[in-house]
Each structure stands twice: as C-alpha cells, then as structure tokens.
Amino acid sequence: MPAASGIMTQVSWPELAEIVGKEHLRDATAADAIDGVQPQMVAEPGTAEELARALGWARGGGLKVAPRGGCTKLGWGNPPTGCDLVLSTARLNRVLEHAWADMTVIVEAGCRVADLQKALSEHRQRLALDPLWPENATIGGILSTNDSGTLRVRYGSLRDLIIGITIALPDGNLAKSGGKVVKNVAGYDLSKLFTGALGTLGVIVQAIFRLHPLPRESRSLSFSGTPESLNQLLLAIQSSKLTPTGLQLRAAAGSAQLDIRFDGTAPGIQAQVKQVEQIAGSLVPSDAAADVWASHQAIWDGVSPALVAKFNVLPTSFAAVCAQVQRVAGAQSLAWKVVVQSVGTGYARLEGNERALRTALLALRDELAKMGGTMVALGCPVAVKHGLDVWGPPADTQPLMVRIKQRFDPDGILNPGRFLGGI
C-alpha cells in the first residue's frame, strides 16, 4: 500500500483490499485523473456485493468516489470537487441472462456495449441503441451518461429500453427496481432516475433491457441541400407515413446533408424509398456512405482544442441552430460542424482557441435558450470549464434535485460537483 498523505492518513486501504482482493486494488496513476483531479487508488470489485461494500467502506472513511466504466466519457461533467477512489466496474462484465424468447437481457454494468451486442446477435437480437464508442463504452457508462444515437427515432433512448436496475448505494446496500418483464408499474422507476445521473446517486451494477430483433434488411439515403431545405424535408418526412429508423441532419461550413435509414422487409423498404423520393421533390438522394450513421461519433475527432457540445432543441429549429452555430463560430473564427438527430438531440463541434470556445459556448447557449433549447459542454479542455457549469443554468427543479441527491448520497461522496448546479 502506498504512503498516504493529508486526509488519507486516516484511510486504511488494507480494509478495502480485503473487500475487493488485494490484486484488484492499485495505486492510481495520472491516467486515472478526472479533469486534472488525481485519485489515490483504483479498485476493481469482482461482484456487485463487493462493489456495494467498497462504496459503504468509502463512505465510512469520508472518501470521494468516482464510479468508472470504460473511460470513454470520463471527462463529461464539471471537474469533480474531490476524488479519492475510482470504483471500476471492469470486472463486472458478464451477460448474465439472455432470455431471447422473452427478448430481455440481464447484464452487468461493466460489460462493454459491443460485447453485449455480439452476444445478443447470436439470436439475431440487439439492444436497439448505437451509443458512442461501443467497443469500449460499458453499459453502466452509457446509462450514467444517458448516451444514445441514431436509432432513437424509432426505438427510443435508454430510458425506454431499460426495464430493471440494480444499484449500489453509499450506505453499502444493493437495491433493485423494475425487473425482467417489459411491462411493470410496481413502485418508483429508479431505472429512469439513474439513467443520466452521472453516477451521483449510486453505482449501477446491473441492468435489464428489453431487446429488439436485428433488422432483416436496411437501406440508407443521403440528400444534399441547405440546412433550411433539409430541415423542411425532415419535417415533411416526420409528418408523412414513413417509418425511418434513422433520420439526421449534418451541417458544416458550406455543406449540409440529411440522412435517412429504412429497416425492414425488402418490399417495405423499396416502397418507403419511393415515397421519400416523392416527398423530396427536387432534392435527389444518393445511397448513403457507409459511415454516415457514425457521424455522431466522428464529430468527436479533429484538431484540438475543440468543444463538443450536446444540444437539445425542437425539430423546427434545426436550421436556425445551424445558422446560429455558423454565426457564432464565424465571429470567433472557429471551425464548426453539427449533427442532429430528428428527435432533437445533436452535437456541435467547434475548433479554435480556448477563450473563443468558451465565448462561443455561452453565446450559443443564450441563442438556444431563446428557442427553448439547451446546450451542454461535453468534450472540451478543462480550462474552458472553469467558472461555468457545463450543464448550463439550473432550472426551477434544482432544489428538488439537490434534495434527491442528499437523500441518496447524504455525505456527497459520489462524483461531487460534476453534475448540474454543482450536485
């Protein structure tokens, strides 16, 4: 065990080693830091019970804890106000039960999304979600960050797919909500409370999802045009009888595309393609490039420093958002691009210096607020985060959210400061 210092002088790490096994407790390195905040140790419990006990132990010692999955979104949220221990779910990585005839799966939180999908594909099923970096992202991680992708237009987001959850709480207990049936209204739906809570209320150790069949056939088209014309086309598609499984608008300086995907039987797809061509009128589609449905992930790549912000707006505002991003980026001499899903969630990427990124974020947030939207800074240098809340201004629900946090985590040990309004 390392020599401890400061607050750590009171910590008896061997006790934790006893809980998780000493080979699963190690010194944290610089690579484990979250937004520059350096934890002391990293523990990898092997069971849900071990994880809960470790969390209870940490609370007893007054330690701040950061739950961690695949490390793909570790920089999301505000910088933590403290972090002593990283609790990794890396060893909780099993698919426990794939009840394919019931179309449900019970999976541990540390299971990587791609591994889960591979297991499900054996029965031609999937978790109908295409989150970021599935090769590394874990179930617990996508749940805690409420990550979703292009399939959302048809299958909903995680809140619509999760049917049960097991969580470890700071008091050292494990608690469950929901179960392995799709339809269930017994008790409060804690699955939804924990989805998107960024690990501030407890640590997700297990989840149960409803599944969908893999599509039989699939075909995607892309249209080019102006953001305005494509926004109109998107609205026309939404008000038609078409049932796309993907519908997104992409824009960057001087170019804009709309992508649409149809899944189903070959005759069904063919009929829908014909209809969308009719609706589009003078806009003529081409077969979509293979990687268009990874655009929400590709937007994270590029030169740095950069800001990747998630925004939520109404579908009628997409062109206006593009115009505002272009205007604000122009004023700050930033490169920009946008990809937005038809449900109203999108990413904007801005590249340039840190000061300009920050100015642009605040300006865009104001503009989006006028449209009833919000903007959250997800990926950016720590310097951009200082002095602002990456989540945006709190709303009238903030006191209630604080009360919920206090009930679940009375000592504020879980990811302190990283969530909305300093929660």
């Binding site: 019931d102 339809k183 409060y188 804690l190 049932t243 005759p267 069904g268």
Partner: protein, 482 residues
C-alpha cells in the same frame, strides 16, 4: 377540519368548486376498485394551476393529506380518499392548451380525456399512442399517475414514453417544471420518476405529450386455437421470426364467451384466441401478415381471419376492449387481476391458474397482452354466496404470487395503489423499498400526497437526510421506523 379552513378552500375554488355534503362526497369515496371506500372531508374542484397550488399550500400548512383524482377509473384504489383528508379532482382542468403538429407536441391539462387528445389531432393524421381500455373516459392526469399502457404499448411504449414534460405542484405547494418540450433536459430524469408514481409525489397540472403519425396500414389477424398453449407457441414463433407487432392479444374460452355475450364480436368459439395487429408501410404489413398466418397455422390455428377495413378492425377490437365488463354477464361479481410474467412462462402459469381455479371451484377468465406478458385473469364469483368473495380474493392474490414466482410483476398497468401495497414486500426486498422511499422523502417529506399508497407501511422521512435522528413521533412513541 376547522370551519375556517373550509372557508379558505371556498375562497380559492368558489362555492361551486367545494363539496362537503356527505351524499355528494360519496361519489368520490372510491375509484374503479369499489371494494375500498373512504369518504373524504371535502372534495375540491380547481380550474387552474394557481388554484391547485393554493389548495396544496393550505394542505401543507395545516398538514392535511390530499388525494388527486382524475376520472376515477383506476383499478387499484390509487384515488381512494383518506378519511382525514381532501380529494383534489382535476376534472375541471380539461383544456387542450397547445397543439404543435410540426414538432408533434400537445400540451394538455390533466383532466383531458385520453381519447380526446387523439380526437383533436386525428384530422391531421396523428394519434396519442397509450390506449388503456378505459381511454374514452380516463384522464391524462390519471394516465400519468399510473403510467398507463394499453394493447399497443408492445410497439409504442407506455405513458412514460410519451410524456415529455409536466408542470407539477409539489406537496409543499412549490410549482416546478419537469422535463420540457425538448428531450434530454440536463439534470435527473424527473418526468421518468414522476410518471407512474401514483399521485404520491405531487400533482401534475400541465402535461406535454408526444403524438405520433398514424401508420399507413393497420391490419388485425384473428386466429383460433384449441388452447392458450398453442396460441402462446404462436406468439413465441412470431417474436422469434423477428417481428414487432403493434399488439398481440390473447383470450381464453371463458373470456371469449363473455365478449360474445356482451358485444357479439363474432369470435370463433375456441380454447385460445389470438389477435395480432401489424402496422406500417403497406408492402411491409402484407409480407409480415403472410408470415404471421404461416406461424399460426403451424401452431395449430384452425381458423384465421384478417380484418382489413377500419370497421372490421374496430369490431375485432370491440370484443377485446369490452372483455372486462362483459365478464359481468357470466357471474354476479368478479375481480380483475393485473400481473405480468415473462411471456415464455405462460403455459406453466396458465396451468397453475387452472389448478388453483379448480381447487377453489371458481372460474377464471383470462385476457392477456401476450406480447408483453401482461396477464389479466378475471376471477368470477357470486358475492351472495357466503365465503366466495374471500375465496375469490385469495385466488386473485395467489395468481399474483405465481407471477412473482415466475420472475414477473404484481402489476403491469393498473398500479399498486391501495390494493397491492402488501405485495410490494413480496416482490421487492427491504433495501429496494427503502431506496424508493428516498425518492418519496425528497418530493414529499411530510407524506401528504396520496399517503399510505403503493408502499406496504407508512414510513417516516426524518427531519433531514444523513445522520439518523429520531423523528418526533418516534420519540413520542406513537410511530416506529422500519
């Protein structure tokens, strides 16, 4: 309650919005579950958010418990009044406030009838997806409280999928806005927690709904089997083929007889009837309908019909939607049960129900949302025969235990309410219930909003979270912490 408080209530809602006469109060003594009845001190009928807020503020100040009520169609006693409290009826808050077709949003007050939302947007080709069987009379506020489902939630999801935001009066009278017209508002998913909380976390005074476009084609296939097991095998076959029908419903022979007697739905007299509804693009539905037909035939269906027109389809559904009430023609009284099982457990659970039913000597009709495993056994009895009501209740309860044992749930859509709160302790472990209480205590630390529902025992939230401090009632020895 002191007279001055009645005066205060009257000043808020006017004389026509306050009911205090016992005879009139009896209208509100129960909801759709009539076995529980309690007469409240008063019923208030506010017409605005401001009035609801003002009433709740008085309740909070005076520690008067309140129960919100929509249309009173609930089947678990969720709107059962409390004797020392008031009922807040949202029936007069029944306006559709905003229709935004391009963004597919509708904003309504809680007293709006479910079906009226669809009626309003139907001319433009939209509909509101959750369709509980009571949709002609049940309110959106009640749907929010119960997270109502319906036959089509297999494909389209439940109320929680379609409610994006709400204006809510918290139990201390604070007005807040959960969610929004846009999705993924930063912060905790409070709409996700509030929907389905059965009125225990506050009162929704405005609800933002998502509407969706009507599919191009809707077809219903009706297939007759000799048994529910054969019908169940067909359901598994349909799912295994990778289809997601809009609805799959099953009825057993007794339920079919009831539906026939009541509405002459022209169902074949068979042991297990399956209704499979597919919707979507015409060529897609056509292709898949042929496959459904094949699966059913392979599993032993001896009669298959496809309803093509809207009128035919409506008639097929009439029998199913009328099934609960229709059972009243077969017996003087019946209990509607609502349990959920993993779909694959159906044969085993059905044979257990048969066994229990013949042991007790009471008939059970079964209506089943087969796609999502939601079972509605109807336990028939004669309330004039001594012992039968008790026996029926026990049988209904034993069926719930079968559901729990099969890995299912004690309620799929009717809610826990008053009726099933004791079963919560059988379905969940103590830490699970304790954890749910954390939510309750954050919203309603004084336990005023629909108290004593959902959870098996009243609990105390303590004065503040964190370090344990005895509640004054504990110190006084009049309450105990569990």
């Amino acid at each position: 309650m002191e007279a001055s408080i009645f005066d205060e209530f009257r000043a808020i809602v006017g004389a026509s919005g306050l009911i205090t006469e016992t005879d009139e109060l009896r209208t509100y003594e129960c909801d759709g579950l009539t076995m529980f009845r309690v007469v409240p001190l008063a019923v208030l009928l506010p017409t605005s958010t401001e009035q609801v807020q003002a009433i709740v503020r008085v309740c909070h100040r005076e520690k008067i418990p309140f129960v919100a009520r929509g249309s009173g169609t609930g089947l678990s006693g969720g709107a059962l009044p409390v004797a020392n409290g008031i009922v807040l009826s949202l029936a007069r808050m029944n306006r559709i406030l905003e229709v935004d077709l391009p963004n597919q949003r509708v904003v309504v007050e809680p007293g709006v009838m479910n079906l009226n939302v669809t009626a309003r947007v139907a001319p433009d080709g939209y509909f509101y997806a959750p369709d509980p069987s009571s949709q002609q009379v049940c309110s959106i506020g009640g749907n929010v409280a119960e997270n109502s489902g319906g036959a089509h939630c297999l494909k389209y999801g439940f109320t929680t999928t379609h409610v994006l935001g709400m204006e809510v009066v918290l139990p201390d009278g604070t007005l807040i806005h959960l969610g929004d017209r846009t999705v993924d508002r930063p912060g905790y998913d409070l709409p996700g927690v509030f929907v389905g909380s059965e009125g225990t976390l506050g009162i929704a005074t405005k609800v933002i709904l998502r509407i969706i476009k009507r599919p191009e084609v809707v077809q219903v296939l009706l297939a007759a089997f000799n048994s529910t097991n054969e019908a169940g095998a067909a359901v598994s076959g349909i799912i295994a083929a990778g289809m997601l029908p809009a609805a799959i419903e099953m009825m057993d022979n007794l339920a079919i007889q009831a539906a026939e007697a009541a509405v002459q739905a022209n169902y074949p007299n068979c042991g297990g009837l399956l209704l499979v509804e597919l919707d979507g693009p015409a060529p897609e539905v056509e292709t898949l309908m042929e496959e459904v037909d094949e699966v059913c035939t392979k599993c032993g269906a001896w009669e298959i019909r496809v309803a093509q027109s809207d009128a035919e389809r409506a008639r097929v559904w009439t029998g199913r939607k009328a099934a609960f009430a229709a059972v009243g023609r077969l017996a003087p009284a019946y209990i509607v049960q609502d349990g959920v099982i993993p779909r694959t457990a159906l044969p085993q659970v059905m044979s257990e129900i048969d066994r229990l039913s013949s042991e007790v000597g009471l008939r059970v009709a079964n209506v089943f949302h087969a796609g999502d495993g939601n079972l509605h056994p109807l336990v028939l009895y004669d309330d004039a025969v001594p012992g039968q009501p008790k026996a029926a209740e026990k049988l209904a309860n034993d069926i719930l235990r079968l559901c729990i044992k099969a890995g299912g749930s004690i309620t799929g859509e009717h809610g826990v309410g008053e009726e099933k709160k004791m079963f919560m302790a059988e379905m969940y472990a103590e830490p699970d219930l304790e954890t749910m209480q954390l939510v309750r205590c954050a919203f309603d630390p004084e336990n005023l909003s629909n108290p004593d529902k959902v959870f098996p025992r009243p609990r105390l939230c303590g004065e503040k979270p964190g370090v344990y401090e005895p509640h004054p009632l504990e110190v006084a020895g009049v309450a105990q912490r569990f």
